[in-house]
Amino acid sequence: MRTCVILLSFLLLIPALAQDEQSEVTAIKAGKILTISGSPITDGIILIKDGKIADIGTGIEIPENASVINAGQKIVMPGLVDASAAPPVRGDLNEEHKEITPTVRISTALDPQSKVLKRIVQTGTTTLYVSPGLRNVIAGLGAVVKPTGKIPKEMVIKEDAALTIVMSMDPTYGNQTPRSQPPRNFYFRRPTTRMAIIWMLRKSFFDAQKYAASKEKDDPEMQILASALDDKIPVRLNVRRAINIRTALKLADEYDFQLILDECTEGYKVAEEIAEKQVPVVLGPFYYYPGSLGQSREGREVNWNNAGILTKAGAKVALTSGAQAQSIDLLTAAAFAVRHGMPRDKALKAITATPAEILGVADKVGTLEKGKDADILILSGDPLEVTTRIEKVILNGKIVYKAE
């Protein structure tokens, strides 16, 4: 009987062993591994299996059948996480027919063949947040995606990751008052002022509270707003001026939703208040506006010390490309932030672990730890050095970019 059991267990083991041999194992050997979650590993090894990190550390035995990527004395770090990336979407980012459009899901407009994906991968970004545009007061739902996959569904790793709400002046641009002539199109409408933006927002929240309390549940727009007020979906509030930031903090208190501040150009003016409320901040875009371009619009000044001041005050900061394809890349943004006063370790976290936490995908990406996705960069030198280049980008265990 016992032999029978032993035989049986062997028989059961055989397919498992066979599968073990079939699944590909990749090993990366590197002089220095910046895990971000802990202290750097010298002369370390990362084992990758099924697109995940199977093991990481020193003195790990590399299986015979493993393909080895020898990075020599180069530096290895986690793939970057852009909490506000240039959107790989075709056509208009905004559904402009009205100003409150919570049911607009940007993930339904993802284009796997988009050209911006190429640059995203080349600059080392392996996870990105895609948001609807900023032309509506309540613009819609964003998604966390990876720059890989044949169809939109394969790209998405987190649907309905956040609700985009815009308090900056963008929703007013182009709107007109139907005073002297009958309205010709839907742009004859509110809001035309900062006041009206916040009024519309308050009204929507008020309606959502009323909806949540009522029995009829047949309005998908109100459903989404209600679940944002119920803390099920975080709210990404786009704010630039200090006055708006203060209003945002007040609204979050009033309606008790999970707040994330976007752009936050004048964050340094209210850093203490932001830190006190423990509200995460997603900074960006960082670029210089040449001469007359865009001068009339708010929040176009670049304050390089913004990240440093916010961090020192104790706020959680992520550095991003600010949904602009022409913005500087994440590594450069981190380097500039360090130059202007952000601590080095915080700057590295601000492009990896912190945005992963803010996006709610910290269990999958952001650091190099056992069990996480094998999204790995191999760099020619220190990540914050301007002369450093990205040599290889590994996404879900596969090399997706190689420097020539």
Binding site: G91, T101, R105, K150
Partner: protein, 372 residues
């Protein structure tokens, strides 16, 4: 052109080869037609006495071709006749109401060998209206119209986006379609609403949805919506469908393919072949007036040139198209009991040198090639 005012009750056609499509090729056979229907397909060349005989012993006969997506007979300025763009959602519009069977382009099209077409509204409305299946000739409406309403056309194309009307963005387009389908799903019968009832039949009663989608992301969105609502769907266009052919095949969605003749690169010309090889049911279309109706057969010939199986190509012009449009009981093959829609052609239908010599619809000779 010869128009038979009174078609003989009985007619026999003797042919060198009969391409039945469903029963293979019959050499030296005879087709007996009675009252506009095929009464018999015989494998012997003798004809019963007293019957009018059309002798095409050195010619081929095939079923009338089916153009699975076109905008023929919609008269005047085509682009204003097929898109009612004031509202974005117009499932209650019927394209048949704009069809003029006596239009010039319908008469001219008879020489192409096409006998049945799917008429569809345009791409500028996310929910554009109801399609129709008609014949290019018929004495009465009953003879001519196979399906007054064959399904609802949806558009996931960028054409459906407008700067001054909802939707303005792709995400908004999908949100709008979901909103409408959800509304239809939860609609109560006590409040009659024609618009919603049409969509309700799409969501609840398997009324076909013809979804226009060309690029990979458009097709992927279409597949998601089809899956979500369990729609009885057909894809129109699907130009880049080969990239996700496995997914389309897995969901078993038939495709009405864009005119192959619109393409010029080898890569694009091979796409339809790859899709058919993956097991997707394909029907060809001319999208007339984008390409003339006469190019429908050329599209299939071009696909054969790039590797498509000849039988699949012929079926894509006939029986597969009929099945996709839901009219296979009446047209699409040469079989006993079906309508006598026949094309007499000078040789193999998939040879570019073969010419259409005569077209018969419901037993009436509607086109005869002039001898030069």
């Amino acid at each position: 052109m010869v128009r038979a005012a009174d078609a003989p009750q009985h007619l026999a056609i003797r042919a060198g080869r009969i391409w039945t499509v469903t029963d293979g090729v019959i050499k030296d056979g005879v087709i007996i037609i009675k009252n506009g229907k095929i009464q018999a397909v015989r494998k012997k060349p003798d004809v019963p006495e007293g019957m009018k005989l059309l002798d095409f012993s050195d010619r081929d006969v095939m079923p009338g071709l089916i153009d699975a997506h076109c905008h023929i007979g919609l008269s005047l300025d085509i682009y204003s006749e097929i898109d009612e763009t004031v509202l974005a959602v117009t499932p209650d519009m019927q394209i048949i109401d704009a069809f003029n069977p006596l239009a010039d382009d319908v008469k001219k099209a008879l020489s192409s060998g096409v006998t049945t077409v799917l008429l569809a509204p345009g791409n500028k409305n996310p929910v554009a209206g109801q399609t129709a299946v008609v014949k290019l000739y018929g004495k009465t409406t009953k003879d001519r119209v196979l399906k007054r309403s064959g399904g609802v056309k949806f558009s996931l194309r960028d054409d459906a986006l407008m700067s001054d009307r909802r939707p303005t963005s792709r995400a908004g387009l999908l949100a709008l379609i979901r909103e409408e389908l959800n509304n239809a799903k939860t609609h109560k019968d006590d409040k009659p609403d024609l618009r919603i009832e049409v969509l309700k039949s799409v969501v609840d009663a398997n009324f076909p949805a013809y979804i226009s989608a060309y690029t990979v992301d458009e097709i992927a969105s279409a597949l998601t919506v089809i899956d979500e609502y369990g729609l009885n769907a057909v894809l129109i266009g699907a130009e880049e469908g080969d990239e996700i052919a496995q997914l389309i095949a897995k969901q078993n969605i038939p495709v009405i393919y864009s005119p192959v003749l619109l393409f010029s690169r080898d890569k694009d010309l091979k796409r339809v072949v790859k899709m058919a090889d993956s097991g997707i049911k394909i029907a060809f279309s001319s999208k007339s007036p984008r390409t003339p109706l006469s190019s429908l057969r050329t599209s299939a010939i071009t696909a054969v040139k790039y590797g498509l199986d000849k039988e699949v190509a012929l079926k894509g012009l006939t029986i597969n198209a009929a099945q996709i449009l839901g009219v296979a009981k009446r047209v699409g093959s040469i079989q006993r009991g079906k309508d006598a829609d026949l094309v007499i052609i000078s040789g193999d239908p998939l040879q570019p040198t073969s010419t259409v010599e005569m077209v018969i619809i419901n037993g009436n000779i509607v086109y005869q090639r002039q001898k030069i």
